[in-house]
C-alpha cells in the first residue's frame, strides 16, 4: 500500500513492503492455483486468486480489501471486470481472507496489500486490479488462439467471449478457463484500456451486495456464529491507565450461564499497547448473560497515574503552554520581520475537542485459539494488524493464524487498531473455547483512540495592500502519535500540523509551532485525522481576516489559491498540491448557492474548501439562526474533485456522508474527562445528529479533473464544519471559535 507512515502497519518494513509490491504482479497473485494441477482442465473454474468463471458465464470476483462502507467491494471488482471484459450484471463478489506468506524476508502479501486507511483503498489497488483483469483476459485469448491454431494477436474479446473475426468464431470464457489456468503468467502486464473505452468503470453502479444488506442477510463481525461459541464481555478500568486492585466475582459466578471470570492485564502506563485497558473478563452462554455477569462484579480499582487528568486542566495547560515557546516545525522566510512590518495583525484562538469514532457496530471479535492454530473473524480495517494482535496474544506464528474479515459496520479509523482482536484471542486462549468478544456502546464511548483535542493560536500580518505577508499556527494538543513504539518526541507535531498544508508556499513568511500535552486520553486516527481540526481553524481564520480587513471571504480565497500550479506536498496525498483546483471548487459551490445575494438578518452563507490526502473538496452552507438561537441548516452544496471518479455512486455517497459527519461532529460531539475518567457513555450524551438536522436541499457534485483517481473517503469532511460556522457568522455576527457548537448560539 502506498500510504504515508502513519497508516503503514508498524512492523511492515520498507523491505517487506517492496517484497510485497513485487509479489503483486508476480506468480503469487496470478499463478496457477493448486486445483488446476489436480483437476481435469474442463472442471477448472478458477483463474488465479481473484477470478472464477462459472459454466453459465457468471463471474465471481474476489475482493481483498475491508469494506467499511466506502464502496471498495464494488469499486475494485469494477476494475477487474472492466479489463477482463465481462458484463457487470454477470458479476458477483467473494470476500477473501487475509493472505500472508512467510518468506526468508519475513511475511509478505499473498493477495496484494490488504488494509484500508488514509483514503487509499482504491488508489493503491487501481493499477493492480486492472492488471489482474487484463492478465486474465490475455490468458483467455492465448487459450482460444491455441485451440484455433492462430496467433493471439488476431483475437479480441467481447464481454464474456474471445472472438476471432477472420475465422468468424467465438468461444465463451467459461470453456477456456482450464486451458488458460495452465498457461504461464505473461512477463509483462498486457496494455490497459484507455479511460475513454470504459464500459463499467466511471459509470453509475449500485453497491453490489446492497440487497443482502436491506434484507438482513449480510453478516457483520457481530453476526458471527460458530459451533460451541461462548460470549464474552470485559469490565475495563473506568480510570485511564487504571488497574483492578481486587475483584469479587462470587455473585457473578452464581448467575446461570456465567462460565468463567478472570483478569485481563493491560499495558503498563506510557508503554506501547496491544490492548487499551486492564479489566476483568466474563464468559457466558449468551451476550446478555455475560453483560449481567459483568454488572454483578464488584471491582476495586487502582486509579493509576492519570487519576487527576481533567478537561479543565488540559485546556488550562494548553493556554499556558501557548504563552511560551514551542517546537518550530516549519519556519519559511522571515516570519518575525513580516509581522514587525505588518500594517495590520489578525489574531484568534480556536479549540477543537476530543471526539469518539462511534462506529455503529460496536467492537467485537470471534477468536478460537487452539494449541497450534487460531481462527479470527473480525470487523477490521487492518486484517494484517489483526494477525499481529492475535500472534501477540497467543504466541503462535502468524502463518498459523487465519484471519477472516467481515463487512464492517463503520470504520472512521477506529478499526485501524485491533485491540479488540487481541482481547478476544487472550480470552479464547485462557478458556480454550471459541468465543465472541462483544463491546457495549458504553465500552466503545469510554475506550477509544480519540481524535486529538487542541488549542490553536492563529496570527496573520497583512501589508498595506491587504495581502497576508506573515502567518503562524501555534498548536498545543495531545498528539495522535499515542504511545507508539520508537516514536521520538520531536516527531509528535507531524501528526497534528501537516507541514505542506495551505497556505504554505503561498504565504511567504510562515511558521508552525507545536506544544505537546501528554494527557492520558488515548488518541488515534479519526477520519481525515488532523485535517478536520486544521481545516476548521484555517478556514475560519481566513474568514476572520476577510471580515477584519474589509475583504470578501470568497474573493480572498480565490486570491490566495490562485491559478492552477503544482506546489510541493511532502505529506500523505502528495507529491503535489494544486491550489487552483480549490479555486475552481470554491467558485463552483459559491455560484450554485447564489453567494452574492443580499440576505436578511439571521440568514447567512458560509464557504470553505480544503485539500485532503490528495483530493479536493469545498462546501457552501446556508443557515438561518432564529432570535432564540435556533439553528436551521437550509441548504448544503458540496463538491469534490477526486481527479477521476472510478465509482461515482460511491464518490457521491462519501461526499454526502463526509459532509454529514463533519456537521454532526461540529454541532454536538465532544469527549471530556474528569478525575481520570471519560465522562460520556452513550448516544444520549454523545449525540450524533439525526435526519432532521439535514435539509432536502442538499447537493453533492463531482467535478472531474483528469484520469488519475484520488481517494474519496475523507475529503468530504474537513471543509463542512468551517462552512457551517462561517455561515453562522454571516447570519449572526457570532464567531464560533470553539467546537462543538452545542448551545453557544443560545441567547
Amino acid at each position: 500500500m502506498s500510504v504515508n507512515a502513519s497508516f503503514v502497519p508498524h512492523s511492515l518494513t520498507r523491505r517487506q513492503f517492496l517484497v510485497a509490491g513485487s509479489t503483486v504482479s508476480g506468480a503469487f497473485v496470478l499463478g496457477v492455483p493448486f486445483s488446476a494441477a489436480t483437476a481435469g482442465a474442463g472442471d477448472v473454474r478458477q483463474l488465479g486468486f481473484f477470478i472464477e468463471i462459472q459454466t453459465d458465464g457468471h463471474v465471481i470476483i474476489g475482493t481483498n480489501q475491508p469494506e467499511i462502507g466506502q464502496g471498495v467491494r464494488t469499486a475494485l471488482p469494477m476494475l477487474v471486470a472492466e479489463e477482463l471484459d465481462v458484463d457487470w450484471d454477470k458479476v458477483s463478489i467473494r470476500p477473501m481472507p487475509l493472505g500472508i506468506v512467510k518468506t526468508a524476508d519475513g511475511y509478505t502479501w499473498k493477495y496484494g496489500g490488504q488494509g484500508v486507511g488514509g483514503s487509499t483503498g482504491l488508489t493503491s489497488n487501481w493499477d493492480f486490479m486492472r492488471e489482474v483483469g487484463a492478465t486474465a483476459r490475455q490468458q483467455l485469448i492465448q487459450a482460444a488462439a491455441a485451440r484455433w491454431g492462430i496467433s493471439p494477436g488476431t483475437c479480441t474479446t467481447e464481454p464474456g467471449y474471445v472472438v476471432c473475426t477472420s475465422l468468424g468464431e467465438k468461444l465463451p470464457y467459461a470453456d477456456l478457463v482450464g486451458d488458460a489456468a495452465n498457461l504461464g503468467v505473461p512477463e509483462e502486464s498486457p496494455p490497459l484500456k484507455d479511460v475513454a473505452d470504459y464500459r463499467i468503470v466511471g459509470k453509475m453502479h449500485k453497491t453490489i451486495d446492497a440487497r443482502d444488506i436491506v434484507t438482513g442477510k449480510t453478516k457483520y463481525g457481530i453476526d458471527t456464529r460458530q459451533p460451541n461459541m461462548r460470549f464474552a464481555v470485559i469490565a475495563r478500568s473506568p480510570y485511564l491507565n487504571g488497574t483492578p486492585k481486587s475483584f469479587d466475582a462470587s455473585v457473578a459466578r452464581k448467575i446461570d450461564g456465567v462460565l468463567d471470570v478472570f483478569e485481563i492485564k493491560g499495558p503498563a502506563p506510557g508503554e506501547p499497547y496491544q490492548i487499551l485497558a486492564s479489566g476483568v473478563a466474563v464468559v457466558a452462554t449468551s451476550t446478555w448473560t455475560a453483560i449481567q455477569g459483568r454488572d454483578a462484579l464488584r471491582i476495586e480499582w487502582d486509579k493509576g497515574p492519570n487519576a487527576k487528568d481533567s478537561s479543565e486542566k488540559f485546556w488550562a495547560e494548553n493556554a499556558s503552554m501557548l504563552e511560551g515557546s514551542g517546537q518550530v516545525g516549519v519556519d519559511d522566510g522571515d516570519f518575525e520581520a513580516a509581522m514587525a512590518g505588518a500594517d495590520k495583525i489578525v489574531e484568534h484562538q480556536y479549540a477543537v475537542p476530543f471526539v469518539n469514532h462511534a462506529p455503529l457496530e460496536p467492537q467485537n471479535c470471534y477468536a478460537f485459539v487452539e494449541k497450534d492454530r487460531c481462527h479470527i473473524i473480525a470487523p477490521t480495517q487492518m486484517p494484517s494488524g489483526a494477525s499481529r494482535s492475535a500472534a501477540w496474544a497467543t504466541g503462535l506464528e502468524r502463518e498459523n493464524i487465519h484471519v477472516d474479515f467481515t463487512r464492517v459496520g463503520g470504520g472512521f479509523g477506529r478499526r485501524l487498531t485491533n485491540d479488540y482482536v487481541a482481547e478476544a484471542a487472550l480470552i479464547s486462549k485462557q478458556t480454550g473455547w471459541p468465543i465472541q468478544l462483544q463491546w457495549t456502546r458504553e465500552d466503545d464511548v469510554k475506550n477509544d483512540f480519540y481524535r486529538p483535542a487542541g488549542l490553536h493560536e492563529m496570527r496573520a500580518g497583512l501589508n498595506a495592500n491587504g495581502e497576508i505577508a506573515g502567518w503562524t499556527q501555534r498548536l498545543a494538543s495531545a498528539s495522535k502519535y499515542y504511545r507508539r513504539p520508537n516514536m521520538p518526541d520531536e516527531n509528535l507535531w507531524e501528526a497534528e500540523l501537516y507541514a505542506d498544508d495551505f497556505p504554505r508556499n503561498i504565504v511567504p513568511n510562515l511558521r508552525l509551532e507545536y506544544f505537546h500535552n501528554a494527557i492520558g486520553i488515548p488518541r488515534g486516527s479519526w477520519r481525515a485525522p488532523a485535517h478536520t481540526a486544521n481545516a476548521f481553524v484555517v478556514q475560519s481564520f481566513i474568514d476572520e481576516i476577510a471580515h477584519e480587513t474589509g475583504q470578501d471571504p470568497l474573493q480572498l480565497r480565490i486570491d490566495l489559491y490562485g491559478e492552477e500550479r503544482e506546489l510541493e506536498y511532502g505529506g500523505h496525498g502528495g507529491p503535489t498540491f494544486n491550489p487552483g483546483r480549490l479555486t475552481r471548487l470554491i467558485k463552483f459551490v459559491a455560484e450554485r448557492i447564489d453567494y452574492g445575494r443580499t440576505l436578511p438578518k439571521g440568514r447567512g452563507i458560509g464557504l470553505a474548501s480544503h485539500f485532503t490526502f490528495g483530493g479536493y473538496a469545498a462546501h457552501a452552507i446556508e443557515v438561518v439562526v432564529g432570535n432564540n438561537g435556533d439553528l436551521s441548516i437550509e441548504r448544503i452544496i458540496a463538491a469534490i474533485d477526486c481527479g477521476y471518479a472510478v465509482h461515482p455512486n460511491a464518490v457521491e455517497a462519501q461526499l454526502q456522508g463526509g459532509t454529514i459527519d463533519g456537521i454532526s461532529t461540529a454541532l454536538g460531539l465532544e469527549i471530556t474527562v474528569e478525575d481520570g475518567q471519560i465522562q460520556q457513555s452513550n448516544f444520549h450524551d454523545y449525540p450524533l445528529a439525526r435526519i432532521a438536522t439535514f435539509p432536502n436541499r442538499f447537493e453533492a457534485h463531482i467535478l472531474p479533473y483528469d484520469e488519475n483517481p484520488t481517494g474519496v473517503g475523507e475529503m468530504g469532511i474537513p471543509s463542512a464544519a468551517p462552512a457551517l460556522t462561517n455561515a453562522i457568522f454571516a447570519a449572526t455576527g457570532k464567531r464560533i471559535r470553539r467546537l462543538p457548537i452545542k448551545d453557544q448560539l443560545r441567547v
Binding site: 469494506e67 444488506i213 438482513g216 460470549f231 449468551s286 462506529p359 454529514i660
Partner: protein, 159 residues
C-alpha cells in the same frame, strides 16, 4: 416458557424473562439482521415490529411480548425472493454505506408509512429518529418518499 411469534412462526424462550428481545433474537434464534447499536433505545438499529408497530428491541424485555407477534428484517418481505416496497426503494437509491443501521431504518420507515402514507419532510424529521453514523440521511429521505410512491401504486411486494 415465553411463547410468541417471530416472522409468523411460533417460538418459545425458556430463559430469563428480563432478557431484551434483541438478544433473544440474535443469540437464541440466530436472527442477526436485527442489530445492537446502543442498548438504550437511542440509535434504533434494533428496531423490529411488535404486533405491527416499530419498537426498540434492545429495550423490550422478552417477557413483555408473550403471545405477541414479532417481525424482523428477515421476515419483512412476503417471500424469500421478494422485497418489501421500502426495501425496493432503499435499493433504488442505493442507501447503504456500511449498512449496519439500515435494517432498523427500514423497519422504522415501514411503521411510519403505515401511520402516514405520504409523509412530508417535516413528518420524516419528526418520526425517523434512527442514527446513521455513515451519514446516509440524504438518500434515506429520498428513499422514504420513493417508498411512499411505491406503496401508493399498489402496495404489493416487488421482486
Amino acid at each position: 416458557m415465553i411463547s410468541f411469534q417471530v416472522n409468523s412462526e411460533n417460538v418459545a424462550f425458556d430463559g430469563d424473562g428480563s432478557t431484551p428481545l434483541l438478544w433473544v433474537l440474535r443469540d437464541h434464534f440466530n436472527l442477526t439482521g436485527t442489530k445492537f447499536g446502543c442498548g438504550i433505545g437511542q440509535c434504533g438499529a434494533c428496531t423490529v415490529h411488535i404486533n405491527g408497530a416499530a419498537r426498540r428491541s434492545c429495550m423490550t424485555p422478552v417477557a413483555a411480548i408473550k403471545g405477541r407477534s414479532v417481525t424482523t428484517i428477515e421476515g419483512l418481505a412476503a417471500g424469500n425472493d421478494e422485497l418489501h416496497p421500502v426495501q425496493a426503494a432503499w435499493l433504488e437509491y442505493d442507501v447503504p454505506q456500511c449498512g449496519y443501521c439500515q435494517a432498523g431504518q427500514i423497519m422504522a420507515t415501514v411503521d411510519l408509512l403505515q401511520r402516514i402514507p405520504k409523509p412530508t419532510d417535516a413528518d420524516i424529521d419528526k418520526n425517523i429518529r434512527n442514527i446513521c453514523r455513515c451519514g446516509t440521511y440524504a438518500r434515506i429521505r429520498k428513499a422514504i418518499h420513493k417508498a411512499a410512491e411505491l406503496q401508493a401504486e399498489g402496495g404489493s411486494d416487488v421482486s
